[in-house]
Symmetry: C2
Subunit: 152 residues, 2 copies
DNA sequence: CAATGTATGTCAGAATACTGACATGAGTCA
DNA sequence: TGACTCATGTCAGTATTCTGACATACATTG
């Protein structure tokens, strides 16, 4: 109606839709995690550690899409509350491998169930074929975006 | 390798991939906008106003995926710097329709070109069919996630 | 072996976004 | 008309994340 032909056209932009979907997913996760008094970032960190025990602070940060400084303050909190442990001294270099405590594992279990329900809901109405199609397409986007990071 | 069968399996999770893609897109946008001294949120706001002149603060907030309080402080900044204008009094109700100034429009133009190049890069390697497939799939995810927001 | 480059953990301050709260205006309904 | 509900704009305080900076540890290279 009031399009001025500038060219991006948010209604048809895949980038905008990507942001919208990601935002909706985050909101849905926050909603089911709130009763457990856990934030999305907390959950991500614990889930990462369950699947890759011994991950370092920096590695966790990269995989949770935050800076290592942010992850560090999160880990300090989780450590103080007894959900994760880190050795006092680094076995090698400065890298401190982090692990879930039994308490952390218990805390994660409920959250995992809640979050899985969200993912199931998100996938509702999509066939197997569509799901693997979505998988490929998202990977393609990520790859293309990362490529030109330092390109002139 | 060290999968413990918990069930989510981030490597195969569409939710995780969605977050990864969204994060990569945001990083790419930040990179091309940095030389213009503009943040992604600034750009989003201006682009929204270009396509939908007269949008209110609350509407802008919803479409930029931030709270109306955050958008309000952003608008105050943009207004002070002369990129947007709002009437001193609301024509109807409390809603203040916001509009781009010529200066704001000029500022947006360069940013639009930069951001479009990112979107083009993201779409590289995808056929037309894949792009419309991605569009449908993302819309499906959004719809499914919004549905259960007030369920039990 | 020494120099350099890269990656890590961490502290401190700044920027950004959020939650809570309030008053105001419009719509609804009896 | 009056009570009620809802959405908006805005102020204030809180929380979260980021940027900048530093020391340390390993790998590479001459």
């Amino acid at each position: 109606m009031s399009q001025n032909g500038v060219g991006v056209d948010l209604d048809k932009s895949l980038g905008y839709l990507l942001k919208e979907a990601s935002s909706a997913l985050r909101a849905a996760m926050e909603e089911v995690l709130r009763p457990l008094e856990m934030s999305v970032t907390h959950y991500s960190c614990l889930e990462l550690l369950a699947q890759r025990p011994g991950l370092s602070n920096s590695e966790l940060a990269r995989r949770a899409f935050v800076t290592r400084q942010s992850m560090n303050v999160l880990l300090q909190t989780l450590e103080r509350e007894g959900y994760v442990t880190r050795p006092a001294e680094a076995p090698v270099g400065k890298v401190l491998p982090t692990r879930l405590t039994p308490r952390g594992r218990r805390r994660l279990e409920k959250a995992t169930v809640a979050v899985r329900s969200v993912e199931v809901r998100m996938l509702a109405g999509m066939t197997e074929t569509e799901q693997s199609g979505a998988f490929r397409i998202l990977q393609s986007m990520i790859h293309s975006l990362r490529d030109g990071n330092d390109g002139a």
